[in-house]
């Protein structure tokens, strides 16, 4: 029937461009991690999984990535909520609103490069402080990139993601008619803090939850920013994967695929959790 024929095109596009690459990519990683493919592999083995999982650096990398993404998201969500309520009207319309979109014109790589130029010991901020006489030598400037607390990475990600969440919050405030809900709360006798914690924030969080999880997933896979601004150890998941795959010790390569498989599983679980039916809503 014609409708059947019509469906062939989207079906085959989905299969060819999305499903086959997915199955092939993950299949390859799985088979490599179990020693089934690869020049130096000879047959099924659990050894790579054992080595990778007993390696402190692999587990630390997962812990570090999760923590980093979490902190980064919390910072963004918190600041965005504050800004949306405090100066939302200024950001929503008028000339200023255009500037809010500026960071979205930055690729992660450029943001990373800029923050390196800005925050490193030889960077803009350090020079500025030197000129003002706050620091006497280059060594007085605190470590803000490749640093212990990942300040550089967090700064770059904050810069890139903050506008997204401000816009998200602004649209939720508008669509969910938060102002009316607040009035309603007040008329029912709620105090200001009660309105905030019992009405406004719960509504906002519930509405933005899927997007928050999605961004958490994005942050988990971030590559360029930690590559340039991170420390040698611990490394985020993408960086350690690529590094393990480019080792002098060629026998370490399967470990890279073990990490890739673990990461893919993590993403899948998070996606399934956040995309429960009817929660899919990309148009913020």
């Amino acid at each position: 029937m014609t409708s059947r024929f019509k469906n062939i095109i989207p079906f085959s596009m989905l299969v060819i461009l999305a499903i086959i690459p997915l199955v092939l990519g993950i299949g390859y990683a799985v088979s490599y991690s179990f020693g089934l493919t690869g020049v130096l592999n000879n047959g099924f083995t659990l050894a790579h999984w054992q080595t990778a999982l007993s390696n402190k650096d692999v587990l630390m990398s997962f812990g570090y990535s999760i923590l980093l993404s979490f902190v980064s998201i919390v910072l963004c969500v918190g600041a965005a909520a504050f800004l949306a309520f405090y100066i939302g009207d200024k950001l929503q319309s008028g000339r200023l609103s255009y500037f809010l979109y500026l960071p979205m014109a930055f690729p992660a790589l450029v943001a990373a490069f800029f923050f390196f130029q800005f925050l490193s010991n030889g960077g803009f901020l350090s020079r500025f402080f030197f000129q003002l006489g706050f620091i006497k030598t280059i060594d007085d400037f605190p470590n803000l990139v490749n640093d212990k607390y990942s300040i550089g990475i967090l700064a770059a990600q904050f810069f890139l993601t903050l506008p997204v969440f401000v816009l998200l919050n602004l649209s939720i405030i508008k669509n969910e008619n938060i102002a009316a809900l607040k009035t309603l709360g007040a008329s029912l006798g709620a105090k200001r803090s009660q309105i905030l914690f019992r009405v406004t924030l719960p509504v906002m969080l519930k509405k933005s939850f899927p997007t928050v999880v999605l961004f958490f997933i994005f942050k988990l896979g971030t590559y360029e920013i930690p590559l340039l601004l991170g420390r040698s150890s611990p490394e985020v998941i993408s960086v350690i994967t690529v590094r393990k795959m480019q080792r002098y010790n060629l026998l370490d390569i399967p470990q890279g695929y073990v990490i890739a498989v673990l990461y893919a599983m993590l993403v899948f679980v998070l996606l399934t959790l956040s995309l429960k039916p009817s929660k899919i809503n990309m148009n913020v």
């Binding site: 461009l17 997915l22 100066i87 500037f99 690729p107 020079r127 039916p277």
Partner: protein, 256 residues
């Protein structure tokens, strides 16, 4: 109260504008020696080099442009068609999660898992391979983007049109396209930007042979060539900023 709000707003905006200003400044700089805040002298030579001498940067700009255009055209069209099928499909949610996956996963990790097949197919290290690889992440984005378009209302419009005697082709031309126009352009530009910004996947599948602006930037950073890195950064940032000026919506994408 009022003052505090104004100051906050301007501080925020300043934080967003500063990076562009400083990057632009670096492109005109020479001998930027510590601890001077400003370079010893300003020069046009970096731009001069780009505009008139260095064929490599120009080629990269062109490559980025070709790849992004091809990718976004195809991803928009394919995403539009496929999302319609998925939106009205029984297993809509399952298919959507499947589409989210390639979009949400780290492109560079996805790329190292796929590299083998690209090599096997003989399309690693060339433009076509990079376009295909980028399609693998932008096409699902297109699907996700358009699923909200194919809502009940649009379905009803189509039904009304058909009972009024309109066949599929006419409905597509006279009803669906006009209604979807805004969606289509927005999706096109967002895919364009995703592709324009892409680094991890492009470097793995493109072997570094397909030089795009992001690849250039990374090379310049590796060489510690701050001025050139800034210059290519500016080239990368300017088109999206222009788009922004044109229409804010076009660049509102899910920044990674």
């Amino acid at each position: 109260m009022f003052k505090g709000r104004t100051i906050t707003a301007y501080l925020l905006i300043a934080g967003f504008v500063l990076p562009i200003l400083l990057l632009v400044m670096l492109t005109f700089s020479a001998n930027w020696v510590y601890p001077n805040f400003l370079p010893e002298r300003f020069t046009l030579s970096n731009w001069n080099e780009f505009l008139f001498k260095n064929a490599r940067l120009k080629q990269s700009f062109l490559n980025s442009l070709i790849i992004a255009t091809a990718v976004s055209l195809f991803a928009t069209a394919a995403g539009f068609i496929t999302s319609r099928w998925i939106a009205y499909h029984k297993r809509r949610n399952f298919l959507l999660i499947l589409s989210y996956f390639p979009y949400a996963i780290s492109p560079v990790i996805f790329a190292v898992c796929l590299k083998f097949y690209f090599l096997k197919a003989g399309i690693a290290g060339n433009l076509a391979g990079v376009v295909l690889a980028q399609l693998i992440i932008t096409f699902p984005y297109g699907i996700i983007f358009f699923t909200s378009f194919w809502n009940r209302k649009v379905k009803n419009y189509v039904e009304v049109a058909s009972t009024l005697g309109s066949n599929d082709v006419i409905t597509l031309k006279k009803i669906i396209f006009p209604i979807a126009k805004q969606f289509l352009t927005t999706c096109f530009f967002q895919c364009f930007i995703i592709s324009w910004f892409e680094y991890g996947l492009t470097t793995v599948i493109g072997y570094g042979k397909v030089e795009t602006l992001t690849i250039n930037i990374f090379q310049f950073i590796k060489e510690s060539n701050t001025y050139y890195a800034s210059l290519s950064s500016c080239l990368l940032v300017v088109p999206p900023v222009l788009l922004l000026w044109f229409n804010k919506k076009f660049i509102f994408q899910q920044t990674r």
